[in-house]
């Protein structure tokens, strides 16, 4: 009898009309918390919310129209012309013009630019270079080249980030960004994004658990912990390259010493101990998922060979600079220990205050998911302004091999970027570089 009643109740519950998943809703406030200062760094969230590039990356990693609606190259990629989207305005109401784009790009790239000259030609921008620029549309989608207003009209440079993006910065703290009703790509679904900066990851997770936050950060080394706590995590493929930059001047101008350093680093220990096996051990600049050839760069440590190559050369103490956060400092300490075992004396310092750096632990972002522009982007970020013209796997491999054989950059790990979200967040996607695309997010309880 009791069993029949239970079954009847169950059937009744199942027969109740349930609310189905719908198209995205408009409205509501998305509450985001970040560890750093989201407004100042070019990797900060606010840049992507407030500004657009001439191009943007599609989900397949290829450049798609953004502020430029089309582009064409001539003269074997030495000259590019980008035609601007009409009727786009900056946050202050000023129209997007080719002159404004040229001013913004000029300010974004004072030296070592992919181009030689920029010209405003009618409603288009012409970019020329002495070298071919096959990857220019992809490079222009990167954070460095987002377009912002350079002249507020009074001859003064306006405050940061007056752009054309899907959100507009409002006054006050926490940082409030309101939806741009006239955004060319369509008004964002949420009305407002509220960003709390300088929150520790522990506090972020606490706020998420009590419903005070909707989107918080999950560092790669804490992904396992987030899973154990049953957080809803959205993670990118490996997009952050942890690499050791090695100076090729002063004492390390000797290539044998650089080779010895490359042979002495213990990537597996770094991955297992510091990053809790969440990284992808790599000795290549591009991850295997992009190229399919990363296995050609051996990742194993060879301490005996490191000693052999170093050949008993004595070196003065080396400085290893790393960001002043606990994980990067720990990783740097671990590397210092590796190098000590190979006969080097290494002192770890804070990258922000270091006067001299023999070695630097870097986090480089894989901007594109296409190997050719991705390699050029990484090379540019370590100061090598060489266009990657080859577009075949063999050609890209050759270029990567030649650069890595100098041992001025030692790839260590590829790490994912990840975020935890509350139950009201829908359709969070990440860009190819792992940045959350907040304009596409909607809230389940918005009406």
């Amino acid at each position: 009898m009791l069993r029949q009643a239970a079954i009847s109740c169950l059937i009744a519950v199942l027969a109740l009309p349930a609310v189905a998943r719908t198209r995205p809703h408009y409205g509501g406030t998305l509450r985001v918390e970040v560890e750093g200062d989201g407004s100042k760094s070019s990797n900060g969230l606010i840049w992507r919310l407030e500004m657009d590039g001439l191009t943007q990356f599609g989900v397949d990693g290829t450049p798609r129209p953004a502020l430029a609606i089309r582009w064409a190259s001539e003269n074997n990629d030495h000259r590019w012309q980008f035609w601007l989207r009409p009727a786009v305005q900056f946050r202050n109401g000023w129209p997007l013009t080719s002159a404004a784009v040229v001013a913004s790009l000029t300010q974004s790239c004072p030296t070592n630019c992919p181009w030689t000259a920029l010209h405003a030609v009618g409603a288009s921008v012409v970019i020329t270079s002495d070298s071919p620029m096959p990857n220019l549309p992809s490079l222009l989608a990167e954070n460095q080249f987002l377009i912002h207003l350079m002249d507020a009209g009074d001859g003064k440079e306006p405050p940061c980030c007056v752009g054309t993006g899907p959100f507009q910065l409002a006054q006050g703290l926490p940082l409030n960004l309101v939806a741009n009703e006239n955004y060319w790509g369509g008004r964002p679904f949420v009305d407002k994004v509220e960003i709390l900066t300088n929150k520790s990851v522990r506090d972020q997770w606490l706020d998420l658990s009590v419903g005070r936050a909707d989107l918080v950060e999950v560092p790669a080394e804490q992904l396992r912990q987030a899973q154990q706590q049953h957080l809803t995590v959205v993670a990118s493929p490996p997009v952050t390259l942890l690499a050791l930059a090695v100076s090729d001047s002063s004492v390390l101008s000797n290539p044998n010493l650089r080779t010895a350093i490359a042979l002495a680093v213990d990537r597996n220990a770094l991955s297992n101990v510091i990053f809790q096996k969440q990284g992808e051990v790599t000795a290549s600049m591009l991850p295997g998922a992009l190229t399919g050839y990363s296995f050609l760069f051996p990742t194993d440590r060879d301490l005996n060979k490191a000693h052999e190559v170093r050949g008993g050369l004595n070196t003065p103490p080396l400085t290893l600079a790393a960001d002043n956060n606990p994980t990067m400092q720990l990783a740097a300490q671990r590397l210092a220990l590796n190098l000590h075992e190979a006969g080097f004396t290494v002192q770890v310092t804070n990258a922000a205050t270091a006067q001299h750096k023999d070695l630097a632990l870097l986090q480089l972002t894989l901007a594109s998911s296409q190997p050719q522009p991705a390699l050029e982007s990484i090379l540019r970020s370590v100061g090598v302004a060489t266009p990657v013209i080859e577009n075949t796997p063999a050609g890209i491999y050759k270029m990567e091999r030649e650069f890595l054989d100098t041992h001025t950059l030692i790839p260590l790990l590829y790490l994912p970027r990840a975020y935890a979200i509350s139950g009201r967040v829908r359709d969070l996607r990440l860009s190819p570089d792992g940045t959350p695309l907040l304009a596409d997010v909607s809230l389940q309880d918005a009406q």
Partner: protein, 433 residues
């Protein structure tokens, strides 16, 4: 002189067997050998007529290796880091060995000074075969690219079987599509594009900007229907309406204008009996959002809630209006008040009417409520106030961005946004089991 294998077998057997009894078994091995030879020859012939998919990459890689190595001996090793099935490896090895041999490179034992290490690898876009050619202390690398293997589309069935056929694919965003007699009309965010199909493939016939004065919403929507005289089409996007007409001497003429006119909810022919007195309903669309306001014409004497989708559906007592509200509820209007439909837990926001001729004759096909990236379509019967599944879910390999009945109601047009950022125009039909 060497004896043949058959002769050797005969010699071994002969001492122990009486001569008369030997004759028949002696013929049997010959017969078996002949059959085996014939089968081998036939097999080789079949292999020749249907070349292996690995033939071309094996030949290309072998040629590159031979260019590096020159004629001689080398030890070939193969490792598989790709999704190629392990049972394919022997045939790949055989092909590589053959191709290397044709270039004078003979596969030798592990003692050889030269080693060819082949790795079958892949990346997110394609397969990659890499050969490391080791000569003493020198290692050189060559590689060839292959197209990725495509996964087979799963099929499933229960009461009726739904079938999906991709008729057009593009990298440009598509909001709505209409099949014509020899092509397709695509509504893109800012343009209407007409493609025709010729024996050479698809060709763009006409492209016209719609001239919107305001930006579209983030989830833009559109509808396109045949014109009432069936020689053209009418298309609606937020704030804009377009009409296209085809004349054999002039081709297509398309005119667009700003418009807040209500959108037709369905092409009338999609209903089983368009002359039964039920008027075709039009609904006002909220151009600043992604839903209909709830105001419809002609008036239905009831305040409808805002909705994403509404279709007219045959009911025992006439035509009902099925509404997918922005709150996720699916309700039906027959006589006031609105009644909630149960069993729609798995429905997404898009549904359309499909005349299958199976069961009740007409079903509702709804998108799924699961992850948007792995959307599906499923047919439902609606005998009363509960939706009853009539088919298995049909995987769509992407997000169903729009769903509409075709003019004759016997198929649906689904716009699918795939993970590869392609927009597919799929024709969905059903057959009775």
């Amino acid at each position: 002189m060497r004896a043949s294998a058959a002769q050797q077998v005969r010699d071994i057997i002969r001492p122990n067997e009486p001569s008369r009894e030997i004759r028949i078994p002696m013929k049997l091995p010959c017969l078996i050998a002949m059959v085996i030879c014939s089968l081998t020859a036939l097999s080789a012939q079949v292999q020749n007529t249907a070349p292996s998919p690995w033939q071309q990459p094996a030949a290309a890689l072998a040629e590159q290796v031979a260019d590096l190595l020159g004629p001689g001996q080398a030890h070939l090793t193969i490792r598989n880091l790709s999704t190629i099935s392990i049972d394919q490896i022997p045939s790949i090895r055989r092909l590589l060995t053959q191709e290397l041999k044709t270039h004078g490179v003979i596969n030798s034992g592990a003692e050889s000074a030269n080693v060819i290490r082949v790795t079958l690898s892949e990346n997110a876009h394609e397969r990659l075969w890499v050969a490391e050619v080791v000569e003493g202390v020198q290692t050189r690398v060559v590689m060839v690219r292959l197209d990725p293997g495509r996964a087979q589309q799963p099929q499933s069935a229960s009461g009726l079987t739904m079938l999906r056929q991709t008729i057009f694919a593009t990298s440009d965003q598509v909001l709505a599509a209409l099949e014509t007699s020899n092509g397709v009309v695509l509504v893109e965010p800012e343009e209407i594009v007409i493609f025709v199909q010729t024996p050479d493939g698809w060709h763009e016939q006409k492209r016209v900007g719609m001239g919107q004065t305001r930006a579209l919403t983030r989830d833009p929507r559109s509808v396109v229907y045949p014109s009432t005289d069936a020689t053209g089409f009418e298309a609606f996007t937020p704030g804009t309406a377009c009409a296209g007409a085809y004349q054999s001497e002039k081709g297509w003429t398309i005119h667009c204008h700003e418009s807040d006119d209500p959108w037709p909810l369905a092409w009338p022919i999609a209903l089983p009996d368009p002359n039964n007195g039920a008027a075709s309903i039009k609904a006002f669309y909220n151009a600043a959002r992604n839903y209909f306001t709830g105001v419809v014409t002609p008036n239905v004497n009831l305040d409808l809630p805002p909705f994403y989708t509404a279709v007219q559906f045959p009911r025992p007592n006439g035509i009902g209006l099925l509404i997918g509200g922005i709150d996720g509820k699916v309700q039906i209007l027959e006589t006031a008040p609105l009644k909630t439909i149960a069993g729609t837990r798995d429905w997404g926001s898009d549904f359309a009417v499909l005349q299958t001729g199976c069961g009740s004759g007409t079903q509702i096909v709804a998108s799924g409520s699961g992850e948007a990236s792995s959307d599906s379509l499923r047919a439902y019967d609606l005998p009363a106030q509960e939706a009853i599944p009539a088919s298995a879910p049909l995987a769509m390999d992407g997000t169903v961005a729009a769903l509409a009945s075709s003019p004759d109601g016997k198929s649906l047009i689904a716009i699918v946004h795939t993970a590869a950022n392609q927009y597919e125009v799929d024709r969905v039909t059903a057959s009775c089991n």
